[in-house]
């Protein structure tokens, strides 16, 4: 009992008693109706207390009642506790638990009313005045303890019966993750667009000042680059601000439809990329398309890392039942010792295997060839 008192501070106890008052009003109503009944026996009194069940069942079926009960429980029973849901009912299991909770709530209220009535009738009864003070001194703290206990019971029941369902918890987690991802993407977007443009501006302006008077042509070109970058940054700022205002989703992970961008990056790095795409790349399932992009990226990267800037042939073939990737590049002479480190190839095989596909890599006709086949009907 002391732990109950310690856990619930005075304010919590009275907030909980207030919460119990709903059931208590029902008890008062019963007490007023019962003496007027034709058959005022204890049996009818018990029946009277069961009478609200159908009404509670109807109430429990209304989705928004769960939210209302949740809000009340959060405010009065468990202040600051977000373990209690404030979502409307979605499943029959939600409604079942809500009905149980409504019954518990009413009956605990009835018990609270009985306790108060008992204490009042005892103290208002025919007691000799010399006993009254010690009896009151014993009864009042007992009543407070009983009410606190009932409040704690109501709180415990709310925690058990009004907690979010697994589906609700998953959904909440998903929302949190999406928000976090969105912020990360926005940061990356800012970094890549405006941060990038500012960097170019700074470096070109600094360089122009360094060579001023000695290389007028460079200064001209640098100033043009500064102007272009600043203009680009202004446009990017517009775009990012629009994204922030509208909350429009940013671009997702690249898919095979973006393979051209990949080829451009590899060309900029010095590889002579010959890209050929056959078949409807845009119609690929998103998961396959994203993974295929990563596989192509890994194959191109490995070619550059091990062979340096060499010609690379990248073929993408979309058939009806499968997607085929084929990457070839000449093996440098002498072949680098670390080609067989294997971690890159293992990664390729793993990615392909997850989608039920296959990947192989090895020397073919003086070339290094990476071949990947991903089924389009899903993993067998």
């Amino acid at each position: 009992m002391r732990s109950v008192l310690r856990r619930g501070t005075g304010r919590t106890i009275w907030a909980r008693v207030l919460h119990l008052a709903l059931g208590a009003w029902f008890a008062v109503a019963c007490a007023m109706v019962w003496p007027g009944l034709p058959d005022a026996s204890p049996r009818t009194l018990a029946g009277l207390f069961l009478a609200p069940l159908p009404a509670l069942a109807v109430l429990a079926c209304v989705p928004v009642v769960r939210r209302s009960e949740g809000v009340q429980a959060r405010a009065l029973l468990l202040p600051g506790d977000d373990e209690v849901t404030v979502e409307p009912s979605r499943t029959w299991s939600d409604r079942g638990r809500l009905l149980l909770w409504l019954c518990v709530r009413v009956e605990l209220g009835v018990l609270a009313a009985l306790a108060v009535a008992g204490a009042v009738s005892l103290l208002a009864g025919p007691l000799p005045s010399w006993v009254w003070v010690p009896v009151a001194a014993a009864v009042v703290p007992c009543l407070v303890l009983v009410l606190a206990g009932l409040g704690a019971l109501a709180a415990a029941a709310a925690r058990r019966l009004l907690h979010p369902s697994l589906a609700e918890r998953l959904r909440a987690q998903q929302v949190r993750t999406e928000r976090l991802l969105e912020r990360t993407r926005l940061a990356a977007e800012l970094h890549d667009s405006i941060g990038h443009a500012l960097t170019v501006t700074l470096l070109q302006a600094g360089a122009a000042r360094e060579v001023a008077g000695r290389d007028p042509a460079f200064v001209d070109a640098a100033l043009a680059a500064v102007e272009d970058s600043a203009r680009q940054a202004a446009a990017d700022l517009d775009r990012v601000l629009a994204l922030l205002r509208d909350g429009a989703p940013l671009a997702d992970a690249p898919t095979l439809a973006d393979v051209g961008r990949l080829a451009r990056a590899a060309r900029a790095a010095g590889a002579d990329v010959d890209l050929r795409v056959e078949g409807p790349v845009a119609g690929l399932p998103p998961l396959v398309s994203r993974e295929a992009y990563r596989i192509a990226q890994e194959a191109l990267t490995n070619a550059l890392r091990h062979a340096g800037p060499v010609p690379v042939a990248l073929r993408v073939d979309v058939h009806a039942d499968a997607l085929e990737l084929d990457v070839r590049n000449p093996v440098p002479v002498p072949a680098p010792a670390s080609v067989g480190s294997g971690s890159g190839l293992a990664g390729l095989r793993e990615r392909a295997a997850v989608l039920g596909g296959t990947a192989s890599a090895g020397p073919v006709d003086g070339d290094w060839r990476v071949a990947v086949r991903l089924p389009l009907a899903g993993p067998a």
């Binding site: 960097t199 360094e210 680059a225 590899a266 900029a268 790095a269 990267t301 550059l304 062979a307 670390s338």
Partner: protein, 224 residues
């Protein structure tokens, strides 16, 4: 003697700016440019630069991985100076761990860029000691307190240092060069060099930057 530099950045205008700034000095020669970390190892093997000035975020292979590749695949890797943009603390620290010798914000002034390349090429003092301490503080602080003893990065190696070596490591962390340390401790330059190479060996560190990071992470040199 000229310092041979390889520039690695996916943005041509950044490379052009850096090239103009560095080549305006007579002691620096830009021997090559690359647009991605993927080609750094083959290019370094053929061009033999003293310093690779490397961007961190690149499309195929980032500067952290490229730095690691250089250390792993070349017998005599060049020194690496990573250049960073904004909000890149995590990456800078990862790059220093991967073996970069120093870092430089892209918003640095031309004279600072040139200085950074020279300091990293000489390799006898730490670039931006205060910034490295701040970075280390941000990364080590959450792990200090009760958990610090269980973590103790390089704890055993650090304990094997002599008192003199610890003293020198503390001065290295403050950014002093070998010559300055010799003056501070009234030692000969050669003696300091011997101590430095001995403590690098004991810490398993290839260079001063790594040794200083280990010193901070192990608590040998206080972060405050």
């Amino acid at each position: 003697m000229t310092i041979r530099v390889l520039l690695v950045d996916d943005e041509e205008l950044v490379r052009g700016g850096l090239r103009a700034i560095l080549e305006a000095r007579h002691d620096i020669e830009v021997v090559g440019e690359a647009a991605d970390g993927a080609v750094v190892v083959p290019l370094t093997a053929s061009l033999r630069p003293d310093v690779v000035v490397m961007d961190i975020r690149m499309p195929l292979v980032d500067g952290i991985q490229a730095t690691r590749d250089l250390r792993r695949r070349l017998d005599e890797p060049p020194r690496v100076l990573v250049v960073t943009t904004f909000g890149d603390d995590e990456n800078v620290y990862a790059a220093l761990h991967a073996g970069a010798d120093g870092f430089l914000p892209k918003r640095a002034r031309p004279a600072e860029i040139v200085d950074a390349v020279r300091v990293v090429a000489r390799g006898d003092s730490l670039l931006f000691p205060a910034a490295i301490r701040a970075l280390a503080a941000r990364h080590v602080a959450p792990l200090q307190g009760p958990a610090a003893s269980s973590r103790a990065v390089g704890g055993r190696e650090v304990r094997s240092l002599t008192a003199r070596e610890r003293e020198i490591l503390t001065l290295m962390a403050r950014g002093l060069s070998n010559g300055e340390i010799a003056g501070e401790l009234y030692l000969g330059l050669q003696t300091v060099k011997t101590h430095v190479s001995s403590l690098l060996r004991k810490l398993g560190a290839r260079d001063r930057t790594q040794a200083v990071i280990t010193a901070y992470e192990s608590g040998l040199v206080p972060l405050t």
